[in-house]
């Protein structure tokens, strides 16, 4: 009746799982960012997990970016990957980043039940940088 549930950690390639676990246990860019000029936190309504992202910008460029908060392997890996991606980028790129960009960079299939986990970091970033209210991909829902 519906497409099978693709959201299945155990179908993940063991190598991919190792990558994710590594992000989970040793997340990049994790912690507080003293002197940040943008700090924003939001929760994932489907689990209650909270994530904060902080940025230090200069002349429209992201000089430094960090995140903190508790969460699942998917949200932590996503935040770790996203902050890596954005460091040194121009602030404008935050607007351009789409749901699909984020999912591609996580590199495992994400089903609807974990979608918010995968997108939480991007949501917090977009909300912090330019106040986007909707979840990425739900702008025209």
């Amino acid at each position: 009746m519906t497409a099978p549930n693709p959201n299945d950690l155990l179908d993940v390639d063991p190598l991919m799982m190792d990558v994710l676990l590594d992000h989970y246990k040793h997340p990049h860019n994790f912690g507080a960012l003293p002197g940040a000029d943008i700090v924003h936190a939001e929760g994932n309504p489907s689990c209650g997990d909270q994530m904060e992202i902080a940025l230090k910008t200069k002349d429209g460029t992201i000089e430094d970016i960090r995140f903190q908060g508790k969460g699942c392997i998917i949200s932590q890996a996503a935040a770790s990957i996203l902050t890596d991606m954005m460091k040194g980028e121009r602030l404008d790129r935050v607007r351009e980043l789409t749901k699909d960009d984020m999912l591609e960079n996580i590199g495992i299939p994400i089903g609807p039940m974990r979608l918010k986990c995968a997108l939480l970091a991007l949501k917090v970033l977009k909300a912090g940088v330019y106040g986007q209210a909707e979840w990425p991909g739900e702008e025209d829902d």
Partner: protein, 419 residues
């Protein structure tokens, strides 16, 4: 649950014999007569396809939705969201998040009064509804009148059963904050002039609420074309389950409204001190949703869509024209409405010298199911000078032969009552 139950309806044309096969209840015999079900404005019968859709949920993939990660939870969440999307497409809403599932049209209208109304209306503000409304679009506003001190006004109905548009023009003023209108009357069948009333509401800067409980089962509805702010309907009047209905609301309104019922699933966070709300539409669906019913409503919408709402409207129009002509020829029968404007195949009438409850009771002896009473529209009844009527209301599975059975039975009943 055999495969045969799952066959789909033909995509084109309108084959009533084929349609009737999807409704096994129509094979019932009542007091040795074939059932002639003419109580469709109260509730419709259900096609197998709808019942089967709910059975599949219960017996194959039932789970609580939202926070479940397991496969059954995934399947039921997707199916329940998809049901919102089906309804959104059916009435051409911009977004499925504008569709709130509620118990019935009554709850939908209460929701508007108790959330938007309480948050936005002040003593002295005016709400205007028509005298043709069902009680569900009257009493919630009376409650606000009593609690908030708003003023409730009624657009009158002419003696031939249509809205008095001139009076509406006078009644709807800048003091008017909301105008509520029944799209099609459950007593008279009259399809009301929506755009005229909506334009008066817009001129006054008032919100415009449509009660579509009787319209959406029988005709194509496009909420963007109607340009209403809210649109209320019930699943059980459109081949869907009991226990489910929907409220369409413009997203910008729904976002700023306070929640309705509160508790699980509609919150984002709860602490001892305060709570924050979930995204649309979940903000308005407190507690475990009517999942099976939502899925069933989606299946009913599929059924109607496959037949085509324009085909259904055409078929019922022809049937209604035939019924009108035959009823008009029954002596001693007083019919209400159907004199001016467009109407659905809903006929309220009285037989001279026979109380409607007795008439309905006697018609049942011939297998004919009609309703008798005030049809939850007492102000309209009073206006037209009666307390109660018989009401025969038709739907897509009814036939001209059934009209004939009704008219024959009316003759018998008059004899019985020496009327």
């Amino acid at each position: 649950m055999s495969e045969s139950l799952l066959r789909t309806v033909p995509a084109e044309g309108f084959d009533v014999a084929r349609v009737r096969m999807d409704f096994p209840i129509l094979q019932r015999r009542i007091h040795d007569h074939p059932l002639v079900y003419l109580d469709n404005a109260a509730t419709t019968q259900r096609p197998l396809q709808m019942v089967e859709a709910m059975n599949r949920y219960y017996l194959e993939y039932n789970a609580n939705i939202h926070r479940a990660i397991h496969t059954l939870g995934y399947e039921s969440t997707v199916a329940y969201e998809e049901a919102h999307k089906k309804v959104a497409r059916f009435i051409n809403a911009r977004s499925w998040r504008e569709i709130l599932f509620v118990r019935n049209a009554t709850e939908a209208l209460n929701l508007v009064a108790m959330t938007w109304g309480k948050a936005n209306l002040r003593a002295g503000d005016e709400v205007v509804v028509s005298l043709m409304e069902h009680h569900s679009n009257i009493v919630p506003w009376q409650m606000l009148r009593d609690s908030l001190g708003i003023i409730l006004k009624f657009i009158p109905v002419t003696s031939d059963g249509v809205l008095d548009l001139e009076a509406a023009d006078r009644l709807i003023t800048p003091k008017t904050k909301l105008v509520g209108l029944v799209h099609a009357s459950n007593v008279l069948g009259a399809i009301n002039p929506v755009s005229e009333i909506r334009d008066l509401a817009r001129r006054a800067g008032a919100l415009f609420v449509l009660d579509g409980a009787q319209s959406v089962p029988h005709m194509a509805v496009d909420v963007q074309a109607l340009d209403c702010d809210f649109f209320a309907a019930s699943g059980h009047k459109m081949l869907g389950p009991t226990g489910i209905g929907f409220l369409y609301g413009k997203k910008s309104l729904l976002q700023t409204m306070p929640p309705f019922l509160t508790g699980g699933d509609m919150i984002a966070t709860v602490s001892q001190e305060a709570s924050t709300w979930n995204e649309l539409p979940w903000k308005f669906e407190a507690g475990t949703s009517a999942v099976a019913e939502g899925i069933g409503l989606g299946a009913a919408v599929d059924y109607l869509t496959t037949l085509g709402m324009d085909n259904i409207y055409q078929y019922e129009k022809e049937l209604g024209d035939y019924a009108l002509q035959r009823l008009r020829n029954v002596s001693g029968l007083k019919l209400y409405g159907h004199e001016r404007g467009e109407s659905l195949a809903v006929f309220s009438f009285n037989l001279e010298g026979i109380h409607p409850h007795d008439g309905a009771n006697a018609l049942d002896r011939f297998g004919i199911a009609v309703r008798s009473g005030h049809h939850c529209a007492q102000p309209l009844m009073n206006r037209l000078g009666m307390d109660n009527t018989l009401r025969a209301s038709f739907y897509l599975y009814n036939t001209k032969a059934e009209v004939d059975l009704l008219v024959d039975a009316l003759g018998e009943i008059k004899k019985l009552f020496r009327a």
